[in-house]
Amino acid sequence: MSDIGLYLHFPFCVRKCAYCDFLSFPATEEVKRIYAAALIREIRGYARAAKGHTVSTVFLGGGTPSIMPARQMKAIFQALYDSFEILPGAEITMEMNPGTVNESNLTFVFDHVNRVSLGAQSGNDAELLALGRIHTRRDVERSVQLLKDSGVKNLNLDLMLGIPGQTAEEWRSTLRWAIDLKPEHISAYSLQVEDGTEFRRLQKAGKLHLPDEDTEREMAALTVEMLEGSGYRQYEFSNYAKEGFLCRHNVRYWKRGDYLGLGLGASSLFEGSRWHNTRNLEHYFEHSSDPGQIVREMEQLDRRTEIEEAMFLGLRMSEGIEDAEFEARYGLSVFSLYGEIIERQIAEGVLLREGNRIFLSPRGIEVSNVVLADYLLD
């Protein structure tokens, strides 16, 4: 009997944002309907494999899950309950775009969802416009109110720093504004310009004016300072939560708990293997009932890979890695395996150690790609 998480991907959005390189695109109502049916077939296809597993976290991500018609979402949940043993206290998160919160999906949320992650991104309308968001500051405020009114007691706001044209002062007011909305959880991501996005095109044309490095670092420092000062604890690089409101589903990713990814392109870690689903929509429509046909890049993880993952995922969390826990799961001590690296990184000031627990310093978080790369084994 083991516990798993479920991730359901909804690859649709009203409009592609300028920074977005996720698997998402606008779609007709017809396509959404076919997708829901295909997703239901996939869910039911897992019914047998799911026997003997409990589910304690479900995450509906995208894209924009909240643009799916409520009727179809209900059917999807029916399939989930039929096929998986979803525990009564399970955390069920849905990502919502503030521009798509309406009566019909609020009813659905009320019935099935107990955590909402709202893609607010900014409290500044000019910045929202620059990002290509479909909503305003006012829409966010209204959505928060509506969600609270409909009984959501666990709310996350996604925020973005380092937006083109953004100043540290503007970021401070976005933070202030977000804190005043009193969500239980805040994710603050630093904007990254990815290949294939509108921002990358602008950048290549020399037309993307990102805040300079010093400003960006000032913003990052402000984030920690203001959120921690308002009772949000930084429990991961970009994630802050009030006591008891960590996102259990995301924690599962960082602690390498099992999860099944359902839907187009979704990733899974299950019984020692990683894979992702096909990213071809037509192929998915046709074959979703048979997991074997849609699985791509299935990799049975060896011990070495598991250990590397445990390090570079585990060190993303503020609590870091506790040696006894690590040894119990992976059969050897981090200090025996990485002794030299740990010692050097502590001397460089990027890693801290308390008893037998290691975790990144604030400086270590800033340059974490460099720090974490050291834990890949030769």
């Binding site: 990713y253 590397e308 993952e309 995922l313 000031g349 978080i365 460099v370 790369a373 890949l376």
Partner: protein
């Protein structure tokens, strides 16, 4: 064999004008090879050459052509490299020929190297057959180019073959012209053996394989031969001719023929390229005019990026040297880089080609240090030192004076670029000697220049300032007294011996700050600030700082997809592997060479 049925020739061309493609077509249409055997470019069989579009190691192919007159002709197509560093190789290949096919691109016209190659061929009294290539391209201007060949080079070109080597169009006409317009050899088969070694190859089973052109006499299995320069005597075990990439044994080689010879020769040094092979018992009266022995002009340190691979590097250099007599090396040690070799090269391109061959053919990861020339140091105690490695320079107090090697540089250029080339030469301490006009639009500039001013990037600068129209050759002529000093580079306060170099003293400040700026660009930001300083003795003359890395973090979690996170970290780690740790600073291995390339932009 009847000499009138032999044609020994080479193909000369500016880079990319289609030399190798035409060679392929000739080989194809003479039919010794089936199409299946044809590699795309038979002559350029080294991977590296193909990528660079230049040919390094001279090779040769024998094909049989049945001409329209019904007779069979033997074509010996002798390949030539095409760059100034390899002029001695070109020269020895040309010496084996009687004629040359000159390929000119009908979309580009006559270019710098076209001329350079033509003059080299004329030096060797070769008959030249012009061919206008790429006439299938829409931008082809064959009439204009033919006119240009007549005007600029002075060759009859109006009736010359107009071809597309790519499609094979009119290649037949080239073959007929080779038969009718290029001369047959005219040696005397009854005289004592006189043959020119134009290349050689070492094979671990067969020993040295000598490539040669027989001018007079003949040679067969069992002949006793003598190398006239070295005096070595051998008994011939096999002679033969060249198929495409294959050795085909023959009974004998006679006057006019091109082929190979084996004689259980174990030592490459016994068979110098350019030497004359003659009969040991009845030698010919005098040797063929040899050409200058290749002398290394440029030295640099070559180190394995991973120290344990030192023995592999040594083995690889040993093997390369067997095929490339111009390469020299001896072991040296660097504090920064560990065990390696100080290697001597003909020039910077030669250096580049060798390092790339080491990396590709021997799978080595290398670090190369600043190239240096040979400086002469006259010490106060009266002794004279030859310095090829700046770190061996004695304390300034022990130096009475120093001398540096000078070259005579000849730069051929179209008149519109004379001004900018003269400026370049002045910047590089060139002393102007004369300008000679060849045509109204072309001239040769002659300068006396310090060699150390041309070994870094002079050729690149020349090309960029003349849009590729300048060609350049140089000849060593002696040492001159000069004011020189050693410039040291300190990274994070530690002197890096591999980056030290000797510089003309009045330029030291400028070079020092250029080096620091360049190094700043080469060293990636790290966890702490890294000062980069240039110093003469204990005096710091320039400084830059590589600012510490501010931010390098992947913020977002992608729905449990960790593959991109892993890829990013792997890339990071891979990058780190390519670095050399100096003190606690990671320096990319390319930095050691790139730091010397002055920006031309």
């Amino acid at each position: 064999m009847d000499q009138s049925k032999i044609r020994n020739f080479c193909i000369i061309a500016h880079i990319d004008h289609g030399k190798s493609t035409l060679a392929d077509r000739i080989i194809e249409q003479t039919g010794l090879l089936t199409e299946r055997e044809m590699q795309d470019q038979v002559l350029d069989n080294m991977e590296l050459e193909r990528e660079r579009g230049i040919t390094i190691k001279a090779q040769t192919v024998r094909t049989v052509y049945r001409a329209d007159d019904g007779e069979e002709y033997v074509f010996n197509l002798i390949d030539t490299p095409g760059h100034v560093d390899f002029n001695y190789e070109v020269s020895r290949s040309l010496a084996a020929c009687d004629g040359a096919v000159l390929v000119v691109d009908s979309t580009q016209g006559v270019e710098a190297q076209t001329l350079g190659n033509v003059y080299l061929a004329l030096d060797h009294d070769l008959e030249i057959l012009p061919v206008i290539n790429k006439v299938d391209l829409p931008s082809a201007q064959p009439d204009e180019v033919a006119q240009e060949i007549e005007d600029v080079i002075g060759l009859e070109a109006m009736d010359c073959p107009r071809i597309s080597a790519k499609t094979g169009l009119n290649v037949h006409e080239v073959l007929e012209s080779i038969v009718h317009k290029l001369p047959a050899p005219t040696g005397d088969p009854d005289k004592p053996l006189k043959a020119l070694i134009f290349d050689s190859l070492y094979d671990s089973y067969r020993g040295v394989i000598v490539f040669m052109r027989v001018f007079d006499g003949s040679v067969r299995r069992g002949s006793r031969i003598r190398m006239m320069a070295t005096g070595a005597v051998f008994e011939v075990t096999e002679v033969g001719t060249f198929g495409a990439g294959k050795f085909i044994p023959a009974d004998e080689l006679t006057a006019g023929m091109v082929g190979y010879l084996e004689a259980s020769i174990k030592d490459m040094k016994m068979t110098r390229v350019g030497d004359t092979v003659t009969d040991a018992d009845t030698p010919c009266a005098e040797a063929l005019p040899g050409y200058k022995e290749p002398q290394p002009m440029v030295y640099c340190g070559i180190y394995p990026a991973e120290t344990p691979r030192y023995p592999d590097l040594r083995d690889a250099l040993e093997k390369l040297q067997l095929n490339d007599a111009a390469l020299q090396y001896e072991p040296e040690t660097s504090q920064a880089l560990g065990f390696g070799f100080r290697c001597g090269f003909l020039g910077l391109l030669h250096l580049d080609v060798i390092t790339q061959r080491l990396e590709r053919e021997y799978d080595l990861d290398l670090i190369t240090t600043a190239p240096s020339v040979i400086y002469k140091i006259y010490k106060t105690d009266g002794t004279v030192l030859d310095i090829t490695n700046p770190t061996n320079m004695p304390d300034p107090s022990e130096i009475e004076h120093m001398e540096e090697p000078m070259v005579k540089a000849e730069i051929m250029v179209t008149t519109e670029y004379i001004g900018s080339i003269m400026t370049l030469c002045q910047e590089r301490r060139g002393v102007y000697e004369e300008t000679e006009y060849i045509e109204t639009t072309r001239a040769v500039l002659r300068y006396k220049m310090p060699l150390n001013e041309i070994i870094y990037d002079f050729f690149d600068a020349l090309k960029s300032r003349s849009r590729g129209y300048a060609s350049f050759d140089y000849e060593f002529f002696g040492y001159e007294r000069s004011e020189l000093t050693r410039l040291d580079i300190l990274v994070n306060h530690e002197p890096v011996d591999a980056l030290s170099f000797i510089v003309y003293a009045p330029n030291a400040y400028k070079r020092g700050s250029q080096m620091c700026e360049r190094l700043k660009k080469e060293i990636p930001r790290q966890l702490f600030d890294i000062p980069i300083q240039a110093a003469i003795g204990s005096k710091i003359i320039a400084r830059e700082t590589v600012r510490q890395l501010r931010k390098d973090v992947l913020a977002k979690c992608y729905g449990g997809d960790i593959s991109r996170k892993r890829k990013l970290l792997e890339k990071q780690k891979e990058g780190k592997k390519k670095m050399r740790e100096i003190g606690n600073v990671e320096v990319p291995k390319e930095a050691f060479l790139n730091v010397l390339k002055l920006d031309e932009e």
